[in-house]
Symmetry: C3
Subunit: 366 residues, 3 copies
């Protein structure tokens, strides 16, 4: 199972000079060296450019067979490899990666096995893949790829250049903006979990809102975004959602917020802009989270967060036996807390008392 | 991205009088006003009925352009809008929503691109959508909708009026009752996680049970319910499951229990009737939970719960720096607990001692 | 909703003697009895073999109508049923179940509604089901089943005897070894969550690695395994993944590790061999976990684990009111910890002081 990703990743080639011309940075060493791919320091070979942003990996750099490397302008590291110096090596690397990435050639058209309803409005510059279904009055803009097996309900709208990978489902009336990416298994627009109780049974409340997704949004594999109950569920521009995320009805996620895998966001929560949420976190319903809030992994957010900052709430793990003793103490913690207060009271009394004793004025001594 | 859900939600229209005739409640104001839709107070316009169940939102009511509003009989609020007074505004609203919801007109038949095995027994009153697959001997009752791309194995049974949205998968021999709703990406009947260890390797135990689902059950997007190992996994009548829930093999979920998104229920757990489980909670295997138990979000249930009530176990979140100090203290908690006990012992000794000192009978003083 | 799984599980039949001949163990009672199925003690009937590994269930054994039972060699239990004694009844039972399981008869060929690209290399001994899609240059070995609705990108490789259940998605260039099982809704090879920040927006880093999966791997329903950013995401031989698991880019999971449902593993985490991870656990990125580490359910792993053992970190649940008091105390825990230290200091001072008082040398007394 050796790593061969590198070999099969054929893109375009640029000289190191060309790259610096386009992206900035300072060149150290020969600029004619040809760069074809980005690669990790460990697996890089001829034609590969790599980067180092953490001094921890400097030993790997020494061993690397990369054709060039991206380093921080203020790095203390000396290397014989052709180098680009820049402010943020990771970002620079990302930009090189984008530059070199093979462009997916879009051959428009619709596959013979796809079903497109007569009154769907599909751009002749869009591609509809095998086994896809496009509902009535659904609009598919130019440059859109509807992957194999995708199912789009009636009155859906997909903006220019958006790509739906295989087996995506989009319910009726939902819309996605331009340049979006939706990964396989994602479900957009299923009914929100809206129930009212009547005589011990659950009454389903019709979910008549939509999901409205902005531009430049990426949605991970098997992520689910529910339609609004009455008003819409809204995902603003530039939001990035990882895999297996649950977004409840009437949630609003602010622009340029990024959310890691396995997060659950309950109904009507409002998440600010430029936030990040770590994997496995849970946000309760009807909560508001300010802009630029960072929530750590596996944290449960139970009330609104009004100011920017980082918030955490996870139980620290431990060796199992030690954890067991901690868990017992946790269950008694409120009581321990009371006992500490008692001790403090009696300590101050006892201090008084021993002073009294020493001076011969103790109550007991009377 | 303005909210236009309202405009595209065309249903039937009823006068306010008609509504009160059907659903009860007390009418205040003109009964002839025509109601076409339900809407939130904020987005309501002409023809919309809204509701207010929380006094917090009374300011929004003042601004609302709704044609009518549902209020609690004992509300202190005064409004000029036509009003229905009732006991439970949220429930009343749900019932109006159901009344006004556009009925999906089912045009039976099977799409040309669907595959239905010859010996499947599909009611002529059912609909099989594009790209669906229906296995051998599978029974599809009247009024059933099998959405586009659904895959039903052999010997499956789907009861009257149940709707499978697009891309649902149901493995062989599983059954769903009447009036069910299954959302896209749900997987019913995959193998349970049954493994035995042999010489450091895992032996897969054939999973020969089924999933048996009752009537009036709703299953959310991308939720997975595993088939039983030997006996069946059972979901009783009226159960409501949200999105991205994992139900292990041989679990039984009691009637009218509702479970929020991202919950994991391990194998052979037995959940009672009329329970609720909050988002992201985890229930360990072979546990029994009584009827009418409410489990809070993100709570881990490690042992059986024998009596009705609410159970919680989540770590309270905090500003990250403060949390870090708490986490350190948690790791030392068992020890802190011991130290408090020591202090208590020595405090009682010292109390004795200072009394002794004051009375001149201290041991040290001897 | 009575349990009828048993009735519809027709396999082969073996005498108890035959079974002991093949699998070992000691026979007690008549060896001619015919065994057709495995079943739970509770639901077993004629022709069924069951097992008991926990003395708790001995009452169920007394009531059982099984034709035979598997017990531990050192069991204190006496039964009139024909018995096989062995070291590990659960494992023995698993082996009998495998022996008796009906073999899926594979009828090779491709369904008329499947789409297979011209240059795909599909073994004539493989089966491609209804509505499946097989991309360019993709290799499908002998004995493979590609279930209905599966979508395989270009340059995918599926090893001998592997079964993909319905609606599995595999992105381009990913590979799966031999004898694998992939359940419905699983997504293999979606883009990793690789983002760099530029002026408050997220730049997507092209994900050019692959997912490389070894032999004898099982992947649960709706589980997602992301492709590597540069190098590959690697799942070694014999790994078992349950449902709804998220595996980030560049993760490596060591051979024979088993992971329960709803687990999230962030990018570049390295999990050892022969590990187990409980349901709902979260492993942060760039962490290394040694071989034979066992992580309990709902535990967050925030740093590398260097030695084998069991690790836990979940908050113990409690009745909600009690939990509320605990939660308040937790928020003050760092402070409580400080106060205990203060008490200890003052207790030692006060001990000195009361000794001083008793001996007439107290500072205050001067």
């Amino acid at each position: 199972m050796r790593n061969k990703a590198r070999e099969s990743n054929a893109g375009i080639a640029l000289s190191l000079e060309d790259i610096v011309d386009r992206l900035g940075g300072t060149l150290r060493g020969p600029g004619k060296v040809l760069i074809k791919r980005v690669a990790s320091l460990k697996n890089a070979g001829e034609g590969d450019i790599s980067f180092l942003s953490n001094l921890r990996y400097r030993a790997v750099l020494k061993q690397s067979r990369a054709s060039a490397v991206i380093l921080s302008s203020d790095t203390p590291i000396v290397t014989t490899l052709p180098t680009v110096l820049c402010e943020n090596p990771y970002l620079y690397f990302a930009e090189v990666a984008i530059l070199l990435a093979p462009k997916v050639a879009l051959s428009p058209g619709r596959h013979a096995t796809a079903t497109v309803e007569d009154d769907a409005r599909v751009s002749p510059l869009a591609r509809i893949d095998a086994g896809a279904y496009v509902g009535r009055r659904t609009k598919i803009a130019a440059g859109v790829i509807v992957g194999p097996g995708c199912k789009l309900g009636d009155d859906v709208s997909i903006g220019k250049g958006t790509r739906l990978h295989a087996n995506v489902t989009i319910y009726e009336k939902c819309s996605i903006g331009q340049r979006g990416i939706v990964h396989s298994g994602a479900v957009i627009g299923a009914d929100g979990f809206g129930l009212a109780q009547k005589d011990g049974r659950w009454l389903k409340i019709p979910q008549t809102g939509r999901v409205v997704i902005g531009d430049d949004v990426e949605i991970g594999a098997n992520t689910a975004i529910d339609r609004g109950a009455l008003d819409d569920t809204i995902i603003e521009d530039g939001v990035k959602l990882d895999n297996l995320i649950q977004v409840g009805h009437n949630v609003r996620i602010g622009a340029h917020t990024a959310i890691a895998g396995c997060v659950g966001i309950a109904g009507s929560a409002i998440i600010g802009r430029h936030c990040t949420i770590g994997g496995g976190a849970v946000v309760l319903g009807h909560i508001e989270i300010a802009d630029k809030v960072h929530i750590s992994a596996a944290t449960l957010i139970t009330k609104s967060i009004r100011s920017s900052g980082t918030y955490t709430g996870a139980f620290p793990f431990d060796e199992h036996g030690r954890w067991g003793r901690t868990a017992v103490a946790i269950k008694n913690l409120a009581e321990i807390s009371v006992r500490v207060r008692e001790l403090e009271k009696s300590a101050s009394t006892s201090a008084v008392r021993s002073v009294d004793a020493a001076t011969g004025t103790g109550r007991k001594g009377k």
